[in-house]
C-alpha cells in the first residue's frame, strides 16, 4: 500500500496497514532549502524545491502544497504583511467600514494573485510525487475568509447583523468553491478547508452562521470525486460535534484539543481524525526522542482506524528537521522506535519566570497568550481585538502579548496555568479563552475596571 492509497482509504474509512502520516510543512519547507517564508510563498521554484525536500526527508503519505490562508484574501483585495518566518498576515480588510458586498468579478481565477504560481507548482509536484503521495490543496475556510474581509467587526455582526453575515458567508463559500475547482484541475487529491477562527465562536453561532457553508463545501468536494478535511486550530473541543455535522471526510485538530476525546466524537460520525503533535513545546522546542515518544504514545493509546498522525497545524519555520524525521520514524517503524525511546526522560524546562504582583497593579493589565499572532489566524484576530482596546485606552491600561513560540513564555504559561491558546488574562484572571470578544464586550469590561 503506498502513501496515497493509505490516505485515500483512511478518508474513505477503510482499513489500512498503519495510520497515515501527513507533515504540515508550509513555510517550514523553506528552512530545509535555506529560503525564508516570503521567498517560499512567492516563488514557484523555491516552493517546489522545498516540497521535494519535505518529501525526501519526512517520507509523507500525504502533504500540503501551500499552507497559506491569505491566498484568497490577497486576491479579494486584502493587503498582506509579509513575514520572514511565517506565512503573511492580513493587514487591511476591504469590508472593514462597509456592508457592501464585493463584486463576483473579484472571485479567484487561474490568472489572479499568486494562483498562476501555485497551480503550476501543484502540477509539478503531482508529476514528481503524486503517484504515491496524496496531495492536499488547502483553501481558506469561509469563516476565516469572512474575517479577513471584514475584520473584527465580524464578531459584532454575528450578534447584530445575522443577514449580513449570511450574505458574506455565501460570498466566501463561493470563493471556496472556485478554489476547489482550480485545485481539483491542478491534481489535488484532498481538499483541506482550513478555518482556524471556527474555534473562536460558540457552537450555536457555528450552526447558524457556518453550517450551511461548510456542508455545501464538503458536498461539493465529494461530488467532484475528491476527499475532504476540515482543519481547525485552537480549542475547538466544543465545536467538534457541530463540525462533524457538516460531514467532512476528516477533521484535523491541534494540541488544544484532547485527541482521545475528540476521536471518540469523530468515530461516532465515522469521520477520520488527524493531529495533534504539539507544534511549539514539542516540535519546535522538544528533542527528537521526545517527538518519537509522543507519537509512539499516540499510536499506543488511540485506535488506528480513521486515524492520521500529523502536526497540530502548520509547522513553525524553525522546527528542527530531526524532530519531524523522528515523528515520521515513529509512524513508519513504531515497534523499533518504541524500543529506542522507552527509557528516555525529557529534560525539564529550566527557566524561572516572575509573575506580576497582580494584587498591586496601578492600572488594568491585559495579557494575551498566543501561539504567535503573526502566524496563527485565530491569534491574529484575538490580538487585533486587544490592540483596538490598546489604541482606545492608551496609557490607561497595560497590554502585552506572550508568544508560545518562545521558551520563556512556555514557562510563563505553565506558571500561570494557561491551558488553551489564544486566551486573554486581565489582572491575572482568565477572561476570554478561545472566544474573541466583541468590541462592546471588551470595552464594557475594561470600563468597569477603570470605574
Amino acid at each position: 500500500m503506498n502513501g496515497k492509497e493509505r490516505i485515500l482509504k483512511t478518508l474513505r474509512h477503510e482499513p489500512v496497514d498503519r495510520p497515515a502520516w501527513v507533515p504540515f510543512a508550509g513555510v517550514h519547507a523553506g528552512s530545509l532549502i535555506g529560503k525564508n517564508a516570503t521567498e517560499m510563498l512567492s516563488d514557484g521554484q523555491n516552493l517546489f524545491d522545498g516540497l521535494m525536500q519535505v518529501h525526501k526527508l519526512y517520507q509523507p503519505d500525504g502533504m500540503p502544497v501551500v499552507f497559506d490562508l491569505q491566498v484568497e484574501a490577497e486576491i479579494l483585495g486584502c493587503e498582506l504583511h509579509w513575514a520572514e518566518f511565517g506565512p503573511p498576515s492580513v493587514k487591511t480588510h476591504p469590508l472593514a467600514d462597509t456592508q457592501d458586498m464585493l463584486c463576483d468579478c473579484l472571485q479567484p481565477a487561474a490568472d489572479k494573485g499568486r494562483l498562476p504560481m501555485i497551480l503550476d507548482v501543484m502540477k509539478k509536484v503531482k508529476a514528481a510525487v503524486g503517484a504515491d503521495t496524496a496531495l492536499y490543496g488547502l483553501i481558506c475556510g469561509p469563516f476565516t475568509l469572512a474575517s479577513h474581509l471584514r475584520g473584527n467587526e465580524l464578531f459584532m455582526d454575528l450578534i447584530l447583523e445575522e443577514d449580513y453575515v449570511q450574505e458574506l458567508m455565501t460570498y466566501t463559500t463561493q470563493t471556496a468553491l472556485k478554489m476547489i475547482d482550480l485545485y481539483a484541475d491542478a491534481g489535488m487529491d484532498v481538499i483541506a478547508v482550513v478555518d482556524p477562527l471556527v474555534s473562536q465562536i460558540s457552537p450555536d453561532h457555528f450552526t447558524t452562521a457556518c453550517h450551511t457553508a461548510f456542508k455545501t463545501i464538503f458536498d461539493y468536494v465529494r461530488a467532484k470525486g475528491l476527499a475532504s478535511s476540515f482543519f481547525v486550530c485552537g480549542n475547538a473541543t466544543r465545536q467538534l460535534e457541530v463540525m462533524c455535522e457538516t460531514a467532512p471526510d476528516s477533521i484535523s485538530i491541534d494540541e488544544n484539543v484532547d485527541m482521545a476525546s475528540a476521536k471518540a466524537i469523530t468515530d461516532r460520525y465515522n469521520i477520520a481524525i488527524g493531529g495533534n503533535i504539539p507544534l511549539t513545546t514539542l516540535m519546535l522546542h522538544g528533542t527528537q526522542q521526545e517527538n518519537m515518544k509522543y507519537v509512539v504514545n499516540m499510536l499506543d493509546t488511540l485506535s488506528h482506524d480513521n486515524l492520521i498522525i500529523a502536526p497540530g497545524c502548520d509547522m513553525p519555520y524553525h522546527v528542527p528537521a530531526m524532530n519531524a524525521i523522528g515523528a515520521a520514524q515513529a509512524v513508519r517503524e513504531t515497534g523499533v522506535t518504541r524500543e529506542m525511546v522507552k527509557n528516555y526522560e525529557a529534560p525539564k524546562l529550566d527557566i524561572e519566570v516572575t509573575l506580576p504582583d497582580y494584587a498591586s497593579l496601578k492600572k488594568p493589565l491585559v495579557e494575551v497568550f498566543t501561539l504567535d499572532s503573526a502566524t496563527c489566524a485565530a491569534c491574529t484576530y484575538m490580538m487585533e481585538a486587544m490592540n483596538v482596546a490598546g489604541d482606545h485606552y492608551g496609557e490607561k491600561i497595560d497590554l502585552v502579548e506572550y508568544k508560545f513560540t518562545e521558551k520563556v513564555n512556555i514557562a510563563r504559561c505553565i506558571k500561570m496555568g494557561v491551558t488553551n491558546l489564544p486566551c486573554v488574562y486581565v489582572n491575572g484572571q482568565l477572561k476570554w479563552s478561545s472566544i474573541i470578544p466583541s468590541r462592546e464586550e471588551l470595552f464594557g469590561y475594561i470600563d468597569s475596571l477603570l470605574g
Partner: protein, 314 residues
C-alpha cells in the same frame, strides 16, 4: 436610424422562441444583444444566424452594475453599425427599471448613427405566471416597464386562468397592450406598439442579489431515464436548467423550468459552425437564487444519480 427593442420575460417564458420567430421576418440588417444568466450563452447559440450582428453578454444581468457597462458599450457598437433594428434579449431575471438611463448613456456615447426606442416587450408564461409573480420582484418590474405584454403558452391553461393573468397584468401596468399567443407567434406588422413614457426606477439587479449558477459538465453519456430522474430531483431548487446533452447517441436540447422538463433533438442551422458544446457529452447550466443549499443539493443529487459521470463547476 436604428430601432431598439427590449425583450423581457421570466425564465422559460419564451423570449428566445419569440425572437427567433421575429428574426425570420426581420430586415436584413438586424443586430441582437443576448444576455444569458449562464457562463455558456445557449440563447446566443440558438439565435445565431449567418452574417447577423450578435453580441452575447453572459453570467449575470445586463441591468446589474457588473455587466451594465458592457451592455451600454454593446448597444453603442450595434447602433454605430447603422443597423435597421436591434433586439435586446434580456436574461429571465433582468430588472429593466432603469432602461431609460441606459438609453441616455448610449446616446451620450454615440459617435455616429442614431436610434429610436421601439418599446419593451414582456413575455409571460401563462402556466407558471401565478406561481412566479409573488416570488420574483424582477417579474413585476418587467411588467411595469413594458409597452407590450405577450402572454405565451396560452394552450396550456384554461380561459379562467388566462383572464386572471390578464387582469393581474392590467392592474400592474394599465397602459400596456396585452396579446395572447402560443409558441411566441405574433403578427409583428400589426403590433402597433405605443411607446408611452415610463418613469425610471432603481433596478433591483445588484451584485449582492445576483443569482448563482453552476455548470454541470457530463463526461460520460448518461442513461436517459436516470438523467430525467436527476433533473426531477434538482427541479425544486433551480429556476432554470438548460443546456445540450448527448442522450441515446444524439445531441438533445434540455430545458427545464421548475418541474417542467423539455428534452428535444438539437439541430444545427444551415451554415452554422458547430458550437463547442457539441464536442462534449453535455453541459448544463443550472440557475438558482436559493443560495448555498441549492449548490449542496445539486452536488448530492449529481453524486447520487450520475456518479463518476460529471464535473461540477461554479
Amino acid at each position: 436610424m436604428t430601432t431598439i427593442y427590449l425583450i423581457t420575460g421570466f425564465l422559460g417564458a419564451g423570449k428566445t422562441t419569440f425572437l427567433k420567430e421575429r428574426l425570420l421576418h426581420a430586415p436584413v440588417r438586424t443586430g441582437v444583444l443576448v444576455n444569458d444568466f449562464g457562463k455558456v450563452n445557449f440563447d446566443g447559440l440558438q439565435i445565431k444566424r449567418q452574417g447577423m450582428d450578435l453580441i452575447e453578454l453572459s453570467n449575470g444581468s445586463i441591468f446589474c452594475s457588473c455587466l451594465k457597462d458592457n451592455f451600454i458599450e454593446g448597444l453603442v457598437e450595434l447602433v454605430e453599425r447603422s443597423l435597421d433594428e436591434v433586439y435586446i434579449e434580456s436574461s429571465g431575471l433582468a430588472d429593466p427599471s432603469d432602461m431609460g438611463k441606459v438609453l441616455d448613456s448610449v446616446r451620450l456615447r454615440l459617435t455616429c448613427g442614431d436610434f429610436t426606442f421601439g418599446g419593451a416587450i414582456c413575455l409571460v408564461d401563462a402556466l407558471f405566471f401565478p406561481k412566479v409573480l409573488p416570488k420574483m420582484v424582477s417579474v413585476e418590474r418587467q411588467l411595469r416597464h413594458s409597452h407590450l405584454v405577450v402572454i405565451n403558452k396560452c394552450d396550456l391553461v384554461g380561459e379562467d386562468q388566462l383572464a386572471q393573468v390578464e387582469q393581474t397584468i392590467s392592474a400592474l401596468n394599465p397602459q400596456a397592450k396585452i396579446l395572447r399567443t402560443t409558441y411566441g407567434q405574433v403578427a409583428w406588422d400589426r403590433l402597433g406598439l405605443n411607446v408611452f413614457a415610463i418613469a425610471d426606477e432603481e433596478t433591483t439587479n445588484r451584485i449582492e442579489t445576483r443569482n448563482k449558477n453552476l455548470v454541470l459538465q457530463l463526461v460520460y453519456e448518461p442513461d436517459e431515464a436516470v438523467f430525467r430522474d436527476f433533473l426531477s430531483a434538482i427541479g425544486s431548487h433551480f429556476f432554470r436548467v438548460k443546456g445540450l446533452v448527448r442522450l441515446g447517441g444524439q445531441i438533445q436540447k434540455v430545458d427545464q423550468v421548475n418541474q417542467q422538463i423539455q428534452i428535444e433533438p438539437y439541430h444545427l442551422e444551415n451554415g452554422d459552425d458547430p458550437p463547442a458544446a457539441l464536442q462534449e457529452i453535455g453541459r448544463l447550466v443550472c440557475l438558482t437564487s436559493q443560495g448555498l443549499e441549492s449548490i449542496s443539493h445539486l452536488a448530492r443529487m449529481a453524486d447520487q444519480y450520475l456518479p463518476g459521470h460529471f464535473k461540477l463547476e461554479m
